[in-house]
């Protein structure tokens, strides 16, 4: 028998996917499908848009209206899709490089406009597709092929960046915390307005190898041990918080959605 989720929401003939053994991207892709299943969305009305990168290959496997665009531009294409047809549930899949390096401007503007797009960032802290260059989320001191002496950049906190830009829903989670991921992605899709789920992924092939992070399982264990929900963290004693990264829902508020406001203009002109 076949995996029921896969049969229903994926293009079976395109699988198995090209990702490396233990690449976290597949975990996130499955979580998106589960959220869609849970919400009972009409597959014909779902559009998945991505840029370029390992992560951005995901739409090719997913059985929806899928659009694999140019590097960094997924949100700009998606904005056109959504505004042109607000009935579509538009989900954007984008890597940390795609979304926050070359695509950073589209991220902050989509967030600002509060347009009803759901963005899932597959954040593996590296440019996977091109072979392991440091990305805007590579932690300081870590290595990439273009940071042979350790990265001197300060990394973005993509979730906080989106909030600074005006996002009305933003959450962070990891490929270890799959139950939470399902929940956040579901909430993000349901959310009216711009939503972002930053899913911390793992790239054992480049990031892991270059930075001696051990096996795939070691990398997953690291996520398990070092991420803590920010609400939980608040209550922790200082020494327990050290070296921890915060995850969880960071913002979830209601503001007018862009395409609805636009439809309001159209309506008002009819009078």
């Amino acid at each position: 028998m076949n995996h029921p989720l896969v049969e229903n929401y994926f293009r079976m003939d395109k699988l198995p996917h090209i990702w490396c053994p233990g690449c976290g991207h597949g975990i996130i892709m499955a979580s998106i499908a589960r959220a869609i299943e849970k919400l009972g969305l009409d597959k014909d009305k779902v559009c998945v848009v991505s840029g370029i990168g390992c992560s951005s290959r995901a739409p090719g496997y997913m059985d929806f209206n899928t659009l694999h665009t140019t590097h960094g531009r997924a949100l700009a294409f998606a904005t056109g899709v959504k505004l042109a047809n607000p009935e579509l549930e538009v989900i954007v899949i984008s890597g940390d490089g795609d979304l926050s390096a070359i695509g950073g401007n589209h991220l902050i503007h989509a967030a600002r406009r509060n347009i009803g797009l759901t963005t899932i960032c597959f954040n593996n802290n590296i440019y996977g597709m091109t072979g392991g260059q440091y990305s805007p989320t590579t932690p300081t001191h870590e290595k990439g092929t273009t940071a042979p002496y350790g990265n001197i950049d300060k990394p973005f906190d993509i979730t906080q960046l989106a909030i600074g830009a005006g996002a009305t829903y933003a959450a962070k989670t990891t490929v270890y915390h799959v139950n939470q991921m399902d929940k956040f992605i579901e909430a993000a899709i349901k959310h009216k307005g711009f939503s972002l789920v930053e899913a911390i992924s793992i790239c054992p092939t480049y990031y892991g190898r270059k930075n001696k992070k051990g096996s795939v399982v070691d990398m997953m264990t690291f996520l398990k041990d070092s991420f803590v929900d920010h609400k939980v963290a608040e209550k922790l004693p200082a020494d327990k918080k050290e070296g921890k990264f915060l995850m969880g829902e960071f913002i979830n508020k209601s503001e007018p959605e862009y395409t609805e406001l636009y439809d309001g203009i159209i309506e008002s002109l009819k009078k």
């Binding site: 694999h68 531009r73 700009a76 899709v81 505004l83 047809n85 203009i265």
Partner: protein
């Protein structure tokens, strides 16, 4: 509704044409001297249920337009030189993925920021070659306000028919001059819409079905869940590293142009029949040439005007034919000789090809052109 006589700028006529052709989506970023096109879109589109959005930059401007086209809305973006440079990557994307789209470039003085409010025709070759990789190009250029209207309609029709981005290359001269224009009634205008698949088909998003010239195009959201990618892909639309699939796709894309030259190539001729000399001019600068040709004719000189309306594909065969019967061809452009290179190529040495142009932000006057013309006489 009867015909309406209006006194419009070229940029305004462009919007009138676009709306008549069925444009329902505009996304762009303002830039002189194309901004009126955005401004009028913002005003007119929501009145008819269409959508306008000012994006964060020109790259996003074309990206959103491509996205919108995929949902079935006829889409346009307009810009000028610097913005046209920024749009190049996604122009290639639209060409490879076969998304109907109209891109207007109201040329201004370049390179770089150059002379932002001055006329120029410096982007002629860029319209053909601006993006990386071979790709099909359709590029039209009007020489009047009325023709701006007509060619905008044509640009939308060709975009739909050939599933490809079409470039309307105007210039500050035609974009900003006001002129009389008789706007036809909607019923008089021929509209071409993309061919959509029938529901229930075993739809292959990038297969050309019998009798069609391009793949049928389904709207996102209407039940065909297909894949669009800027990677080389096969008939199904999915990426394929196979070189034979890549070759098939590329050959088919390029053949959209080469197999349909009869439909695509467009030009105007004045007095070519008995011409001993031919002036080649296009766009706003053709107005100068028309005036000059009339004056020269009045002096009894047998000079004709050849005005390409489709810059790309260029009227190669016709130009070559003409070159066999004339003493001399003078190409005039507001640049350092761009289309002149193409004319030189296609005449294959049949007659000398001279050039007269400027790229300093001025228009050419008929008198200057006449002077240059007479240099060989």
């Amino acid at each position: 509704m009867a015909r309406q006589v209006k006194f419009l700028q070229g940029n305004e006529a462009c919007i009138e044409g676009a709306l008549m052709a069925g444009m329902r989506f505009y996304s762009g970023y303002p830039i002189t001297p194309s901004t009126e096109i955005a401004e009028l879109s913002a005003e007119r589109l929501p009145r008819i249920g269409g959508k306008f959005i000012q994006m964060e930059d020109e790259i996003a401007g074309i990206a959103a337009a491509i996205g919108a086209s995929l949902t079935g809305l006829k889409s346009m973006t307009a810009t000028s030189g610097p913005g046209f440079s920024l749009k190049q990557e996604n122009i290639g994307y639209a060409a490879l993925t076969e998304i109907p789209l109209v891109i207007v470039n109201v040329q201004r003085g370049g390179p770089s920021t150059g002379l932002p409010t001055a006329p120029s025709q410096g982007d002629v070759m860029q319209a053909m070659w601006g993006t990386h990789g071979d790709h099909p190009v359709i590029c039209l250029t009007p020489d009047s306000v009325k023709e701006t209207f007509d060619l905008t309609v044509r640009a939308f029709n060709l975009a739909e028919k050939y599933r490809t981005p079409v470039i309307l290359l105007t210039d500050e001269i035609t974009g900003h001059m006001r002129e009389k224009i008789e706007i036809p009634d909607q019923s008089e205008i021929e509209i071409y819409n993309r061919i959509k698949p029938e529901m229930g088909d075993e739809y292959k998003a990038y297969k050309v079905y019998e009798g069609d010239i391009v793949p049928k195009m389904a709207n996102f959201g209407e039940g065909f869940r297909y894949h669009v990618t800027g990677l080389m892909h096969d008939e199904t639309g999915f990426p394929s590293n196979s070189t034979s699939n890549a070759g098939i796709l590329m050959d088919r894309l390029m053949a959209k142009i080469t197999d349909h030259l009869d439909d695509l190539v467009d030009y105007e001729e004045i007095g070519i029949e008995d011409a001993e000399y031919v002036i080649v001019a296009y766009g706003g600068n053709a107005r100068t040439a028309k005036s000059a040709v009339k004056k020269l004719r009045a002096e009894g000189i047998k000079v004709g005007l050849f005005r390409p309306i489709s810059l790309w594909p260029f009227a190669e065969a016709r130009m070559n034919e003409i070159s066999k019967n004339v003493k001399d061809i003078l190409v005039t452009e507001l640049n350092y000789g761009q289309l002149k290179l193409e004319v030189e190529r296609v005449v294959r040495g049949n007659c000398p090809v001279r050039f007269f142009g400027k790229a300093n932000g001025e228009v050419l006057t008929p008198e200057q052109l006449i002077l240059s013309f007479k240099e060989v006489l």
